[in-house]
Symmetry: C2
């Protein structure tokens, strides 16, 4: 009988994270200070991040040891299964072999705790008592709540008010793990108060919530800030996913020809694909496909420029594909993919043509999710559905050409908290957004002009 799940034992859990920085095909442009436009120093970041994470942000060591305490907690759900999607293959009639790496088995249901647990650990090590963060729909907030809970840290989450009110379930999950969750904007920070002074009924935004969380951390003696994607150290922690998948494929006697993943901030897909990117840079032929929504087409239509990470222009400037920090994507249900920029590491690899980007409309993405649910049994998150769509497209191409490709999917999360999105899909109420070029260019006008003289 066919084997569906390729499992690793806990002893086979990777002991090190893979750092792609020394293997990059071009130098990574450094983050720069929003005021001086000079490269950021560790001291600039020290008020909000612990020193060990600042070091990981810039390290050129190819491997970083995973601390025992982090490994111990990873074992609550890791190694995660690599599954062969036999029934999907049969339904498509494809000669391709489709595998998916299932990160939905973690307690909050996504890849996010891989870094949440690590960040909580390093903060705890440096005497931090409380972590502050922002969250939109709550995927990241719930992961950090878990991470803090497991290490005995307090956790303060600024949750975009409209989500706080309309999507109470992830808020309750955070509270179950002991986090304090505030609907943002609040009266608790200067940033929040000034927003409320102008608009007492503000429903909030991720940009506002970032401002509040950073201010809270920077102004508290024993608190730091924590970010769930975009930064190098976050992507580093996620590589445990790809390292496991690589070993599992080796056991199955496979090497991937195609890898698909969805990209919002970039950490989920980087986690899976970076260990394989190294193989591609070493000469192996792999199609590495980053999937995003047409409603927020950062990689496919953005400019590769320095831009702010937030709408309030408070963060350092990062070199990345960006639609402009003032870009406001429509309210699509893949909330995790509604970011105007992307991780600099991911963007560099797209810019260097190592990773290819594709954008998809909502309805075609939900079609793919339903095909997956009705064959493999599992209901995925709307974000994850994007790369299932890409994998199905690739498998159908194989059906035409007869190629027996091995396709690997980054199955980043389940859809149990997203059933309202499925409801809209069933009711034919999902809109497929497509931007006129002019409106994209309009948002890009807010991207700051930075001197990028070579050799800096």
């Amino acid at each position: 009988m066919e084997q569906v799940k390729i499992m690793l034992s806990e002893k086979e859990l990777p002991q090190r994270w893979y750092n792609i920085q020394p293997d990059l095909p071009a130098p990574l442009a450094p983050p720069i200070h929003p005021g001086t436009h000079k490269p950021l120093t560790p001291e600039d970041l020290a008020p909000i991040f612990p020193m060990e994470l600042i070091k990981q942000e810039v390290t050129m060591e190819p491997w970083v040891e995973i601390p025992d305490e982090v490994l111990r907690l990873y074992r609550l759900w890791r190694p995660t299964p690599l599954c062969r999607a036999y029934r999907l293959e049969e339904a498509l009639g494809t000669p391709a072999r489709i595998y998916y790496k299932d990160e939905s088995v973690s307690p909050p249901g996504s890849h996010k705790p891989n870094t949440a647990v690590a960040q909580a650990y390093y903060n705890k090590q440096e005497g931090v008592k409380r972590l502050c963060t922002e969250t939109g729909a709550g995927q990241w907030g719930s992961a950090l709540a878990l991470g803090c809970c497991l290490f005995g840290l307090d956790c303060t989450v600024y949750m975009v008010r409209v989500s706080y009110e309309q999507k109470p379930y992830r808020k309750l999950l955070m509270q179950s793990w002991g986090a304090t969750v505030h609907p943002s904007p609040t009266n608790l920070t200067q940033a929040g108060r000034s927003i409320l002074a102008k608009d007492p009924d503000s429903t909030g935004s991720l940009g506002m919530a970032i401002s509040e969380a950073v201010e809270d951390a920077a102004s508290s003696e024993d608190a730091k800030y924590s970010l769930g994607s975009v930064l190098n150290h976050v992507l580093l922690h996620q590589t445990v996913v790809g390292l496991e998948a690589k070993e599992q494929l080796r056991i199955a006697g496979e090497q991937p020809d195609v890898i698909t993943g969805c990209v919002g901030g970039g950490s989920n897909y980087a986690g899976l694909c970076f260990p394989f990117v190294k193989d591609k840079l070493d000469g192996r032929d792999i199609d590495i496909i980053a999937c995003e929504p047409t409603a927020c087409p950062t990689l496919t239509r953005g400019a590769y420029r320095y831009d702010f990470g937030d709408t309030a222009q408070l963060t350092p400037l990062l070199k990345m594909y960006t639609l402009g920090h003032s870009f406001v994507p429509p309210p699509i249900h893949a909330g995790g993919l509604r970011y105007h920029g992307d991780a600099p590491l991911m963007c560099l690899l797209v810019n260097q043509n190592v990773i290819e980007a594709r954008a998809y409309h909502q309805n075609t993405v939900f079609d793919a999710a339903l095909t997956f649910a009705r064959t493999e049994g599992k209901l995925c998150a709307p974000e994850t559905a994007h790369c299932i769509k890409a994998a199905i497209d690739e498998a159908l191409k194989c059906k035409e050409t007869g190629e027996e490709k091995c396709i690997l999917i980054a199955y980043s999360g389940h859809g149990f908290f997203d059933l309202a999105a499925y409801e809209q899909y069933f009711a034919n109420e999902l809109e497929d957004y497509e931007y006129p070029q002019q409106s994209i260019e309009e948002a890009m006008k807010t991207i700051p002009v930075v001197d990028e003289s070579p050799g800096e």
Copy 2:
């Protein structure tokens, strides 16, 4: 480093279900016809169940082969992990070793698909095209929707109207797997129409939904009815859980001293404990503890009598602990435990003092769930929380006595669809119900009088 998860490979999946019937310490009283009060014949059941399941209902073979097609689908999520709850043990400061068998990893998030997939298979084998069932909060309906989807059967679910309207998420899960879900009572059946004629605004009940599903199945050429608990064949299918757990504990070098599980209809706990019940009957000292809510104290305060399975008095009479088929439990959040009766097999073992029953209040049960979530990371269903409470009590007893007992928990499902219940708990809005003896006795007056002359 300690090993948290004891995994079995797919090859180690049990190939047979364990049938407890030949090992029972007393003869099982047969189901009897509601009209004639004579033992039910296979012909009586043929209009609503396929013959193979009717055979399994009465077989005295100690083992029943699991068909290859069922094993193939079990492999989508089975074998499930057996986890050691190290962090819970540490938090309690107990010398006890606590394990939990995690059935929450199935696609709908509970043990239910173990029988749903098997029932769909046998129906498909006998040419059935569609299965009908009832569901309350939707746990069983979603499992059967999945089972039918995987075998290409149509699935019609009569969902209690109040749940259909107030808890839309499991309904959407069923629809994702292609099921047709009706809010019950409907205008589609005679039973539904007669209820609506009397009360056009009826919010429905499980009893009404059963009547509609049975009528739909019995009056359709190519449809049958499917039940998610109580009956012998359902409990048989669930023993795959206990057989796996037994092998996993053997690998860990353990034998359980205490086993806890929650009981609504009885199939979840029977699935885990029956293979160990055999050991107890063979002389091993094991405390097998069935946990129920004080709000529906079937095993702890019910009468061991023949009673109807439904409020409408349409089903066969079963010998079981019952609070009376007219008993209406209060709206506690452990919806899966709100049944006036229990599986006859489970009840016989309680009556024979092989299994002990305990009842718990809601708030203490949610306290236990939160302790578990904040140590082990996983948020359980309110039903599952009952046996976590019992396990914590037992572990704390070990702390007092110094006994190093091995405790096994039936972790039957996750709580992602029950966060509204946690919200009420956080808000101190959960009521702890306790019945005066008089009101229990009142409900029991509706239990029919049946001649149970010995030797029948």
